[in-house]
């Protein structure tokens, strides 16, 4: 239907009223996730790809590898480029055209989580220092926006990276490397154990919750996206981004931080379980 009407203020008021009692329309707890499904290798032309479903939200992500010149300030590191395109097919909210503020923010939040956690060992993606390095292109596309694109997108990105492999290459006569597109090795990307997963906390009324549905997201006043990675038993926050018009109180920030370890642990568990399931199907 033409989604012109969006969520009404009547429903929004009810959502906030109900939240005061710690309840949500779908009976979830404030820090419960909807059902998560992961599929990998959704494009056999990509070096790695994945589809993540959280509730009705669906996001796909893919990894393509290329060759390029390193940045001057990191001459022996590979290059990572993350883009997100808010496809108009995923919601009537998005229009075709050049990247919007929203899509740029989405790509940069996911980028920082991966970069700051050093999940990818970019040093190992160097072919010849100062001259030739691998470029990792990570592209994220929502297919259905049912709320919480940031977390679903970040998860799809990481699932794609986990399952990505290097393409075959050959050396040209002049010594340069040439990628044999469409031919893959079975060598995974050099990854560290600090895998980042993002959780976005939303403030509605005086309550904090995670993984909002579209209705809840429309009623959300502020959000705080946090990329968390684990090293041994410790949790680390690698990136953060506040969004929304309303400010957070310090108490609210503390509540969020108190819940980070518990939620992160649950999220990592669910992710590993679903990823394993996905990989089994591919064999």
């Amino acid at each position: 239907m033409n989604m012109r009407m969006g969520v009404t203020e009547n429903t929004q008021r009810r959502i906030i009223e109900y939240l005061k009692e710690g309840k949500r329309f779908d009976n979830r707890g404030l820090f419960d996730l909807r059902d998560i499904q992961i599929e990998t290798n959704i494009s056999n032309k990509s070096e790695g790809s994945a589809r993540v479903r959280i509730g009705k939200t669906e996001v796909v992500a893919g990894v393509k590898l290329g060759l390029g010149i390193p940045y001057t300030d990191s001459p022996d590191s590979g290059v990572l480029t993350v883009t997100a395109e808010l496809l108009p097919l995923s919601s009537s909210k998005y229009e075709p055209g050049p990247p919007s503020e929203e899509s740029i923010e989405l790509s940069r939040i996911i980028d920082r989580g991966i970069r700051e956690s050093e999940f990818i060992d970019l040093r190992k993606m160097c072919i010849e220092p100062k001259k030739e390095v691998w470029t990792i292109y990570l592209d994220i596309y929502p297919i259905n926006d049912g709320g919480n694109l940031i977390d679903a997108g970040a998860m799809a990105a990481v699932a794609a990276l986990r399952t990505a492999v290097l393409p075959k290459t050959e050396k040209g006569k002049d010594g340069s490397t040439r990628i044999l597109f469409g031919e893959f090795t079975d060598k995974n990307l050099p990854l560290n154990e600090t895998m980042p997963l993002t959780t976005t906390f939303h403030k509605l009324g005086n309550q904090i919750l995670i993984d909002p549905t579209t209705e809840e997201e429309d009623a959300s006043e502020a959000r705080l996206s946090i990329a968390i990675s684990q090293k041994k038993k410790d949790h680390f926050i690698n990136a953060m981004q506040k969004g929304g018009k309303v400010p957070f109180t310090v108490e609210e920030i503390n509540t969020i931080l108190d819940n980070v370890p518990k939620i992160s642990k649950k999220l990592q568990e669910v992710f590993e379980e679903k990823l394993k399931k996905a990989e089994k199907l591919n064999k």
Partner: protein, 241 residues
């Protein structure tokens, strides 16, 4: 005829395995998925809805606007995000292939947007897109006088091959390219053609054979599209707000 056996062992009039599903994007007014073997297309239809800016509006009838786009990782060499000249042309021929059947005269000043995304590409992407778009438009409740089905038929080394694969697209004989790629779309009831393109080298009488093979294949595709729509009616998803 130099091409006597197809690379993947198919018969000459055999298409790759097809998967067709309707109702795959809950937010859309209508949506569908269609695949020919490894070529996967997903489509969402939004509309009829108000068209802005106003100068684009047609006061006599609604506008159909198709937007074809390939995901960057759908191809072996990364496709840079954003429209290309190729995608703009395909968007246009897709719109033209569906316009003859779509009836938007009762929706003046509106636009019906058809968004096509190719998730995985292995030749025939525009045809997969058209097949999914036709289902998605019907699913969205757009009045149509007919369904549209499309397939790429090729003339590979003088053999008429239905639904050519990427490998066949690159067929060479004695170091020279010897293949014609001919995407076609047919209206299901009237057998009229709304898409007809060609790349290659073929004699007019040979082309007639190709058209006939394509027409027959499209009849089969129509049955699949019909089944997918009927299956969706049974497990139709209502909208929630």
């Amino acid at each position: 005829m130099t091409y006597t056996k197809r690379f993947d062992g198919r018969k000459f009039d055999e298409m790759r395995p097809i998967e067709a599903k309707v109702g795959v994007i809950p937010n859309a007014d209508g949506s569908a998925y269609f695949s020919f073997g490894d070529t996967k297309a997903i489509v969402a239809v939004y509309g009829p809805r108000p068209l802005h800016p106003v100068f684009l509006q047609n006061p006599q009838k609604g506008i159909l606007r198709c937007n074809y786009d390939m995901l960057s990782f759908s191809v072996t060499e990364r496709k840079k995000p954003g429209p290309s000249r190729r995608s703009k042309e395909i968007s246009m021929v897709t719109t033209k292939s569906l316009e003859p059947v779509v009836q938007l005269s009762q929706f003046p000043n509106t636009v019906t947007d058809v968004f096509i995304s190719i998730i995985q590409a292995d030749a025939s992407t525009r045809c997969a897109g058209i097949n999914a778009a036709a289902m998605a438009l019907a699913h969205a409740g757009i009045p149509m006088t007919d369904m549209v089905s499309a397939v790429s038929t090729g003339f590979v080394g003088k053999a008429v091959c239905v639904d050519i694969s990427k490998e066949e697209e690159d067929y060479e004989e004695d170091g020279e390219k010897d293949v014609s790629d001919i995407p076609m779309a047919f209206l299901s009831r009237s057998d009229q053609m709304s898409l007809f393109q060609l790349d290659g080298r073929i004699k007019p009488e040979e082309l007639k054979e190709v058209v006939e093979a394509g027409r027959k294949a499209c009849k089969k595709i129509y049955e699949i599209q019909k089944e997918a729509l009927k299956a969706a009616a049974i497990k139709d998803e209502g909208k929630k707000k």
